[in-house]
Amino acid sequence: MTVVAAMSDIHSGFRDPVLDSQDAFRTVLSCNAYPGRTFTLSRSVDGPSPFCIATAALCLTLLDFETLVWLEDEVRTDKIVDWLTFHCGSPLTKDHREAQFAIVANAQSIPSLLEFRTGEIESPELSSTLIVQVPSLVDGPVTRWSGPGIRDSICPRIGGLSAQLWLDREMTRELYPRGLDVFFTSGSSIVGLPRTTNVEF
């Protein structure tokens, strides 16, 4: 098998790596600035299954050789590993507790949020960012979010999450300014959940 043949099996990345990442980053920035709102990417990318467009775009926008990535079982496939290695060059870890980015497609099998990196007291930014792909961003139990970036409150309905996930996240909030930052993805849409957001569920 030649290198060329192997590469042709790898799914493509952004059509225009520079401008597509810029465009995707602005969407991601809005997600983090305005938690709970659904933002939709304007440009498409054909990532490896089961990555949706938004999960693939987040990877291509934020990951590189400096980011240690953990993949949940459902996304730890050869196709995805090859794609991440080729396009992002990210080192992978099997230990979610040390990951800088964690990518999850089956939110039911996510380890307890309490086990991820929440940063150091003097360096709270050295914490995990979770990319959690869900079946729907609009068809789930109603939750009420408030905090920075939210005027009054907003009521997202993210599907496919366990009650335990919300309970665990509630506990990480007591560590502030340490904490976890999450992006929920579905199709080509993203909802941001930074550590500052208070969630009633």
Binding site: V18, Q22, D23, S30, R37, I154
Partner: protein, 306 residues
């Protein structure tokens, strides 16, 4: 399925779109996200050398270069004006390295890079205000070493800052600080608003826009998300107050904007005019209103606000 990187983003001049290489942009973008997640906290980043002299806002320029794209309209202000050397140079830089459309109107701008002022015109959702920060540490002078100030921020030990301000009250009967007046962000992190006049501090609070801060020399990025509490430090018996003028703007008559005193002749003649030239021109009707910026961030499709 591999596709060749399109050539239109690599200029023939040998630098990448918006000057910074993609690796640097990603590093800054990750820092910006963490900065928004921890409002007012200074995130260290690996600042790059920029082709502009020190003190020209290289931190702000790197932040702008990491967020800006072809769909943006960039406004650059220095002390409220678009036509100073510093502002013109930065605008020219982004025109050259990213072919960015520039504007002097707040209403038309999607990204505004600023030194020393917050525009008088209210910002809207989706707009990004990038502050150039010479010195990001509000505790400098109190904690001489960086390692100490990091500890003070970590444990929110800000008593010494309050004491310093209160020494003013004891000496002058009021808090003498006019610029770079420290603020508490989201009730947790003490933050330097950069050398803006304290007049502008209240505009930072609950602003619908995204406020990003970059210091190139100190290699720090920090942020204030929209709709976030930004409280200027004060005391029960000496509440925070902004500057007021007896005069109104000699050009537009505004009695609520930040005024600069201008000497009009060599016989001591003087007048007061708006520091924010775009705001002043708009009030004089010199600019027909032509806002095309939508009232919500690009791409927002859902979200039930209640």
């Amino acid at each position: 399925m591999i596709q060749v990187m399109s050539s239109n983003t690599e200029t023939s001049k040998g630098y990448n779109f918006a000057y910074l290489d993609e690796q640097t942009k990603r590093m800054i973008r990750r820092a910006l996200l963490k900065a928004l997640s921890i409002p007012g906290y200074q995130v260290p980043f690996g600042a790059r050398e920029m082709p502009l002299p020190c003190g020209w806002g290289t931190g702000g320029i790197q932040v702008t270069a990491s967020v800006i794209g072809p769909a943006d309209r960039l406004k650059v202000i220095d002390q409220g004006a678009d036509d100073t050397t510093n502002a013109i140079s930065i605008r020219r830089f982004f025109k050259k390295v990213a072919q960015i459309v520039t504007t002097e109107k707040v209403d038309e701008a999607t990204v505004i890079q600023t030194r020393h002022r917050v525009p008088e015109t209210a910002l809207i959702e989706g707009q990004i205000l990038v502050y150039q920060v010479p010195q990001p540490e509000p505790l400098r002078g109190i904690a001489p070493r960086q390692i100490e100030s990091r500890k003070l921020h970590a444990y929110a030990e800000y008593g010494a800052m309050q004491v310093t301000l209160y020494e003013d009250v004891a000496r002058f009967g009021y808090i003498a600080r006019i610029y770079e007046y420290p603020v508490m962000v989201n009730g947790r992190h003490l933050m330097s608003p950069s050398p803006i006049p304290k007049f502008d501090n209240p505009k930072m609070q609950n602003n619908p826009a995204i406020q990003l801060f970059g210091s190139g020399t100190e290699k720090r990025i920090y942020a204030v998300p929209p709709y976030t509490s930004v409280r200027s430090l004060d005391f029960d018996d000496h509440p925070f107050e902004v500057q007021k003028w007896k005069q109104s703007c000699a050009f537009c008559g505004s009695g609520t904007s930040y005024l600069d005193e201008v000497i009009t002749d060599d016989r001591g003649g003087r007048m007061f005019v708006c520091s924010d030239t775009d705001y002043c021109a708009k009030r004089r009707g010199a600019q027909p209103g032509t806002s095309e910026v939508a009232g919500s961030p690009a791409g927002a499709t859902a979200g039930s606000s209640s």
